[in-house]
Structures are given as structure tokens and as C-alpha cells.
Symmetry: C2
Subunit: 431 residues, 2 copies
Amino acid sequence: MQPSRDSSRDPGGPKSDVVATAERSKSDVIATVETPKFVPVPGVPPRCGHLFVLGAGVVGAEVLAQATSLPPIERGPALDLKVVGVARRRGGAYDVRGFDRAAVAHIVSERRATAGSDEVAPSTNAIDFPARSTQLEALARLSDPVLVDCTAADGMEAVYEEALLRGIHVVTANKKALVARRDLTDRIFAAAAKTGRSFRYEATVGAGLPVIGTLQGLVRTGDRVKSIECALSGTLGYIANELSKGVPLSVAVATAKSLGYTEPDPREDLAGTDVARKAVILARELGIPLELEHVTLTPFVPQEALDAPDLEAALVGYDATFAARMAELRTRGERLVYLARISVEGTRAAYRCEVKVGPVAVPQDHPAATLDGPTALVAFTTERYGSSPLVVRGAGAGGAVTASAVLSDVFLTLSGAPVSSRGARGVAASS
Amino acid sequence: MQPSRDSSRDPGGPKSDVVATAERSKSDVIATVETPKFVPVPGVPPRCGHLFVLGAGVVGAEVLAQATSLPPIERGPALDLKVVGVARRRGGAYDVRGFDRAAVAHIVSERRATAGSDEVAPSTNAIDFPARSTQLEALARLSDPVLVDCTAADGMEAVYEEALLRGIHVVTANKKALVARRDLTDRIFAAAAKTGRSFRYEATVGAGLPVIGTLQGLVRTGDRVKSIECALSGTLGYIANELSKGVPLSVAVATAKSLGYTEPDPREDLAGTDVARKAVILARELGIPLELEHVTLTPFVPQEALDAPDLEAALVGYDATFAARMAELRTRGERLVYLARISVEGTRAAYRCEVKVGPVAVPQDHPAATLDGPTALVAFTTERYGSSPLVVRGAGAGGAVTASAVLSDVFLTLSGAPVSSRGARGVAASS
């Protein structure tokens, strides 16, 4: 690189307009590359991860689509993925040769066409996919097997444990098993430790944003997390934003529902339960044995409204209160955001942790004050990130970004040291 | 969790003050935990990664300190680290039993006491640590061996390649090997692919911020990156900030130097070379075969000032120009930031990529406009993160955060599938 290069391109003479120099050259195209080069990996066939995907809803379908249409990987470990199984609430498909994109699309669309009312019914039981143990046994015989949970089913702890004990890695987008009672959740980690397999769940908090991995990095390397503040509900972020524009509460909720931003029953969003789950996952990542009932949860709207038989009518009753509140916030130059706040004080031996989830008024210079739409934000204040917190923000919901977090976890799992001894043979061959 | 719980704690009656509710309960402490529980991992001794650390400067010393004083790990894969080697420019220390914190402190302080003028001299040659091949051979015989490069040496490509071919994972904080000519850099990745070992370098861009891993996740899962904008020089961020407060250019640079924010010769910061290197690393992560000389680099100050024999005097000559420029920016409501901008257009088969590094005026609502001090920022605009870019920000320099990125890479490397077959034996024992 020639630092002098640019001044020769821009012979503006002494004391030239520095800022404008950068602006003037805005349209220069420096590197025009027609054909990207691939890194040859001589003599080594790519490793292949074998995926069994549970659930074919919004996230599952996207995981299947992405996994079966990945672009060639130009650098880094040579890894390929093969989808060998898909399990839905009613039956599944398994083929050791793997499904291609068309086959997967067929499986997904078939499910959509036949599932009927099942489609919107929340999954509340652990998926007992056909002949589970037989399937897991078959999966375990393949190289680099990964079970991928894209359901919202309860009770998956047992499935994960069984898979891990059989030597299968587990990647999940399902929050439930991570907020189950600690003794149940711990069994998953114990199983992973016992067999040396990976259990990853980046997609459970902030969708595709690097939240869990970042926090694990901080904790594992001995940083002390003092607080985590996060805005993790795109739905409530959207509604709060509408309110700040002067839209009545009842209208904002109805609009969010009509745009498909809320659950079929908006109470589930307004109650804040999902945000509380994510807060528990983050707190437990700090090593704190927190249970869901320890979270101080304030719903976005008063509990009375959530308890009312007719939610819409009840919300209309709060329109005036909310409008007055928003006017007051505007006067004070504040914004309404729905935050989860985890704070830890004290030493490792004796510490105090509080986890609060609820609507909060924040000043304009708060990191969360500039959020709009479904943007999520997580800010870590730690010993090492004291004066300038580590902040991650961006679209925090949606099938595509959530699925990419799931697949990214799959790659992280497989790009560690190999399960087979192929690597060692490679060394021997080269020496 | 009981959503109704909070309303019972706060019997504010109907239409209660929702926003204030959350604020009123600010001082409640919900979960007070005196003794965190550890997840027992019955019958399985923790795996142990064996580290050989090159360099014992600011980053290396911190890596050694952190690696030898890690807190117990409560969850996730049971992993332990042992530092078995430290190599400095003059000699090194190796002990298969591992060094504890005191031993490491001794090695580091001894180096500081005896190194003399070597301390500030930039390392420009590949470290040929004593009996390199012998050392690597010894390291390769240990389980989970990792070579950790904390030097700023040139030409380390050959060392990484040799290590990887011997079956040793490589983690580096050193940018040089990643911006060497593509054919040289490619040899590292080819070696990693050949033996299935990991090559990780998160600390090379944005210190501890999750930049490389995030980008790899996007690319591997098939997202299309359209642009990356980043502020990656804490030094230039600080100087730009001082300028915006009305401090003359020459004074801002002198202050930054006196605070230790700049390299011994501030020309190295002002030239923008280090930012250009980081931009190349990011662009190559996209699969683009970019070389350093393809970067359009505009120094922070005119090249004439950098070429002047007396930098300080030369900068005084630009004080008035910069002051006028800053006044103009203030009028337009803009901020001066030093940005690297990578933009990609077109399809995989034929695309245009431009990489520009230089001072830019941005509007107040630009993500980089709110940066202050040594805060770094990276914003990824992609197909999936279109309307709301994925942004990572926070302290982007310093020994502690850089070292934590290095160790975090070590844990990622080791928390993948195990090298040994202990995992598989664990399964057999349990079934």
C-alpha cells in the first residue's frame, strides 16, 4: 500500500481540503474483480456435517432452505452440510443420502398444505419424532451429526440429553429448554461435557445478532459482567415507536397485529414473557442459577388489560393514559423502551443479581433511545468494557436472520477440531 | 414466571402509571444469590488446551495473565488451559507441566527489565523462536495444542503453516499474515483445511469486539454483504473528537501522543495504514482477493505533513485549515470520522468491490457520529440486515479486550468437537 498514492491522485497542493478529498473520490472504483478465486484444498475432501432438523415452521423452513443452498465456501475450514432428516409434529422424513433444496421445499410445503390448524397451534410438547431413539441412533452413526431444534416445543431437555449422550451435537433456536428448571437444564450441559459434544443456542437471544457467543467469550476469558441492558422485543419496540409518534395504544397494537409483528394473540407479546425468557438465558450464561420466577416482570400494558376477556376494548381504555404518559416523556426528552436489565454486584463468592423486564423511560442519549422498528439491542457493561459498553444491535427477529444464527452455530460446532481422525492422517501424509 | 406477579406487587389499581411502575421498583433486588452453583461433570476430567504464546508485549502479557488466572468455568464444555511455552524476541521458556501466574509474571517482567531498546522497536521479522521446529514438534505431541501469536512480526505465514501442518491450532492477534499477498495467506488456510485444524484471528479487527466471527457467520450461511462501514482507529477517533471540540490539530495530536494513544511515531496512526490493513482482512473475509495496494487510502492529514521532517511543525501549518473545516462541518450538522468503507455490488460471478479508508464527514444520525474516545464501530449492511444494519460497537483497543478476544478464539477452537476420542468413549461408558 502506498500512502502517498492518494495524494498523487489528488494534487490539491498544500493545505488541500482534507475532508472533501475523501468525499470527492466517493465514486472511484478501485478494485473491480470479475472472478473471485477459490482457495484450493488439495487432496482433502470437504468434511460433511449431517443435520437432522426438528420443526419446519418459519425458522425451520428457512434453516432447511439455507442449509441446502449454501454458496461454495472460499476460505476457512472446508465444510459441507447435508440435511438427512426433517421431523414435524406429524411424522418426518429421513434419508441418509440427504435432501436437496427441491426435496426440502416439497417436505415443507407438504406440511403447510396438510397441517391445517396445527400450523398456528403452539407446540407445547417435546417432539416425539417417529422412532426417536432409532433415528438418533442412525444419526449418531454418521460423521459430524447435528440435531437442530427449530420448534417452540416444551420439554426438549430430554431429547437434547439423549442426542448429546449418543455423540450428536445439538443446536437450538428454542428457548424453552434453556429456561426450564436449572436442574433440568444442567443435565444438557452435563451430557455435552460428558461426551465432548457441542450444545449451542445463539439464535435464542437476539435472533442472528452475536449475543450469546459474545457473552460466553466475556465470561470464559474472565471478564466481569456488571450489567446487561437489552431491547429484545421487535414487536414491543415497534409499538413503543408508534406511541412516540402519537398513535393511540389500541391502534398501535392493532396495526402491529395486522402487520404480523405480534403472536396470534398479542397478549403473549404485551406480557413480556418472551423477553423474560431471554433475560434468564443471559443471566444463566453468567453462571447465576436464576429461575424464570425470579424475574421482575412488568408487562408492557397493565395486567388488568391482559386479563380482560376483550383485549382490544381494554386497550382502548388505556389510550388516554398512554397518550398523557408519552406527552410527558416528550417534554422530558425521553423515550419509552421495553428493556430487560440484568445487574450484578459483589464478588463471585457473594453477589447480588437483579433481573428486571419492563417498560422504561430512557434519556435521548441512551443506546436504546435510537431504536426504531424491529431493531434489537444488547449492551454489555463489564470490567473491561467499562467506559464504552460492548453494544450489538440490528434486526433482532425474522426467519432469515434467526436461521442464519442456527447455521452459524452449526458451522462453529463443526469448524472446531474434527471428530474423525482425517486431520491427523492429513498431517502424516504431508510429513 | 407469573406475569400477574408484578401487578400484585404493585397494586396501583386500574390505569396505573405503567412507565413509572418500572422506574419506581428500580431498587428492588429480586434474586440475591450467595453461592453460585457449579455444574458437576461427573467422571470426566476437563480437557486441557496447551498454549504456546509468541510475544510478551502489551497483548501477550495480558493473554498470559488471563490464561493463567481464569475463573472456574461453570457451564459449557469443561475446558482448562495450560501455558506451556512463551517465546520472546530473545529466547523463550518451555515447560510441558505449564506455567502458573507467578511464573508467567516473572517471564514477562524479566523480559521488560532486560529487553531495553527492543521494547519499543517494532518487530519486523518472523519470530524464529529457539529451535522452532523442535518446539512445534513437542507442542504437537500434547493434546489440543494451540499456537498463539501476540507479536506484530512480519512473515509469520510460514510459522502458522508449519504449526497447522503439524496438527497445531493457530490463534493470532497479528494482522500482518492476513494482509500478506493472497497466495501467501492462502497457504495458511490450505494448511488448516488439510489437517482440519483451526486458524482464528478475531483480535485482528476491533480488538475484543465480535467482528470477524460475525462476518464469518454471515458469509458462511449465505447472506450477501453489501457494505461494511467501520471506525476502527481509537487514536484517530480521539483526535477527530478533540477537533470537534475546537482543539487545534497540532494540539490534538500532541495530546494523543502524550496520553499514549498513538504509536511512538504518530505518523503511523495519521497515515491510516493500520485501518487499511483491517479493511483488507474484512474484504478478504468476503472472499474477495484484495491486496493492500487496492485500498484507496486517504491519510487523516495531508500526505505533505506526513512527509515533512518535522511532523509537529508541519501539523501547526494545517491548524487553520482544519479549524475552518470543522467550523463548516458544525454548520452543516456533520461530524468528522475516520472510516473504512467496503462496498460490494453485483453478483458472485461478476462483482465490483471498492475499499476506501479516509476522513469522512457524516450526518448526525450516522451510526459513527456518536462515537467518542477510543470506541470502535462496525456496521454490516447485508441482504438479511438491509433496513437495520448489524452494528457492533464498544472499546476497540487495549490489552485487556484484545487478549480476551485471543482467549475467546482459543475456547472456540477447543470447544468444537474434541481431538481425542475421549468423547466417544464417554458415550460408550454411558450406554
